[in-house]
Amino acid sequence: MAKIELRQIRKSYDRYVAVENLDLDIIDGEFLVMLGPSGCGKTTTLNMIAGLDYPSQGQILFDGRDVTAEPPHGRNVAMVFQSSLLYPHLTVRKNIEASLRHSKLSKAERAQRIADAARMLELEPMLDKLPSQMSGGQRQRAATAKAIVREPACFLLDEPLSALDAALRLSLRSELVNLQKRLGTTAVFVTHDQVEAMTMGDRIAVMSKGNLEQIGTPDEIYNQPASLFVATFLGSPPMNVVAGAISNGVFHAGPVAIDLAGRGIPNGPVSLGVRPQHVTVTAPDAPGAIPVTVYALEHLGRESVVIGDDATGNKLRALVDPGFHARIGDRLGIAPEAGACFFFGADGRRIAVSSSPA
């Protein structure tokens, strides 16, 4: 168990900067998810925590101890890799045992640890099988057993579920979180899947282009996104974004006008963001509604999503009742609820809009 602190971490490869000025505190025992599109620096950051890669600048502390230059086994971390990487020519038992190579346990204690880990992950019948003789889910369990057997300071998981099919991913998601909570070990989980992030993380760190965009609980990330990037990256179906401008305290975007007077927002270009559940579908010429041409209607079962193109070709989405009918090419209006809108400045940061005029 460990508290992990990243201090002003920078990682560059020649001229390419993978991670820039990253400060991150990982609380002892928490399940932190690092979320971002590919190339955002999340795996690089995980590798630096693991000791597989060393930062160009900055410090990494485990429980206050500087481990920046220490090799992986000196940090006592355990890692589960993409597609549940195992040594293909070794049995599951040998694979798990390899994790204990640097421990000073007696032979009996090792056997006990392996037996415990195997029991916890229901791997007992598989211990003498090779990874190639097991299913994807079993391999994932074996990789997890290999990680927990060391009783590490922290688990580092690099998209371990990405190669599995959807149903298996769903059940292993809760299994992993349950295991982590029972053991109480700090875990850092890297993913590009926002559903995985929302469902698994105690906190989510959203990264983009080597920068930490926001860190917070799933609730904070979803309901108080710090930037346009965070707002659009999380949520399914994704948030609608409408470009507009503030003049004299009023937001204008075509027929949409939202009065923000008295809240101290300077004039200038501003983007409006509103989630599909916070818009209403109206007639195309209704006041305050953006006229759209229906592009697609997606049935999700409990509800449906209408996707429409506005005059500039920007796609807007609205959640509607499953009984809703529309044909492609129909004209509709989409009206945002003023109270549920986010506003983002030209720099992409969210503009704080207090709920009532100051």
């Binding site: 693991a50 992986p72 890692m79 040594y87 293909p88 640097h102």
Partner: protein
Amino acid sequence: MTKRRPNFVIAMTVLIIWSLLPILWFVRMAFMNHAEIANFPPHIFPSSFNLSSFVNIFGYDYKLADGSISAASGQAGQIELGLQNSIIVSAAVTLITIIIVVPLAYVFARLDFRFKNVLLNAVLLAVAIPPVSTLIPFYTLYVQLGLVGTLPGLIIIDLTTTVPFVTWMLIGYFRNLPPIERLARIDGFSRLHTLLFLILPLARSGVAVSAIIAFLFAWNEFTFALVLVNGTPATTLPAAISGFLGQDPNPAQLAACILITIIPPALVAFFLQRHLAEMNIADPVR
């Protein structure tokens, strides 16, 4: 057994005849006598399995069924030396190639370092140069160094071809292995341990095929042997056999020698065919 389509059967038949007919031709010659070989139209099978050539090439007379004697070959001394030297040269070339190439190919395939691409291109350039083009420079160099007519000289020349070629082949194989180095570093294995005990067992098919290629090259190598060691105590089997073309023409004994020459490669290929097949699979692990 699935039913084969006729096109497939025809193609396979042509392929088999194409590759096996020349072998059949000299195999039958090895068991014939002079008169039978000279016969026209040729016989497909020898009239009697006459073993005299095989005895003659090792320096012994052979008493034929009609009581006449088939005399020992004048090339026998060279053949015996050649067989012995070929075994030494091939074994040495195979062993040294593998010892050099496994770490070399591993480093190129799996690690990043400065000037990697330049060095890799240098290796690949060596593959592209036809070995014969270096024959004359090597010869003049070897005269100065006193390596003409020696086994080490021949081994060194063979290595200049096998090392780059096998490196080039193994790099591709190593690249396809799963990234277990990361796992090994988390587990605290040293780089050497990772290579010897984790990568090598995974790559055993690639290494086995590399060994076969190095062995076959050294065993079959003719051009350098002809120029550098023919007629010396360091002669190899292919060079020694060439004597049957010039000094002592004897088609039956030539055929018997060739038959003996192709036995070791055939055995090697037969016992390692499982690995050869595995090399063709994109993912070497599953």
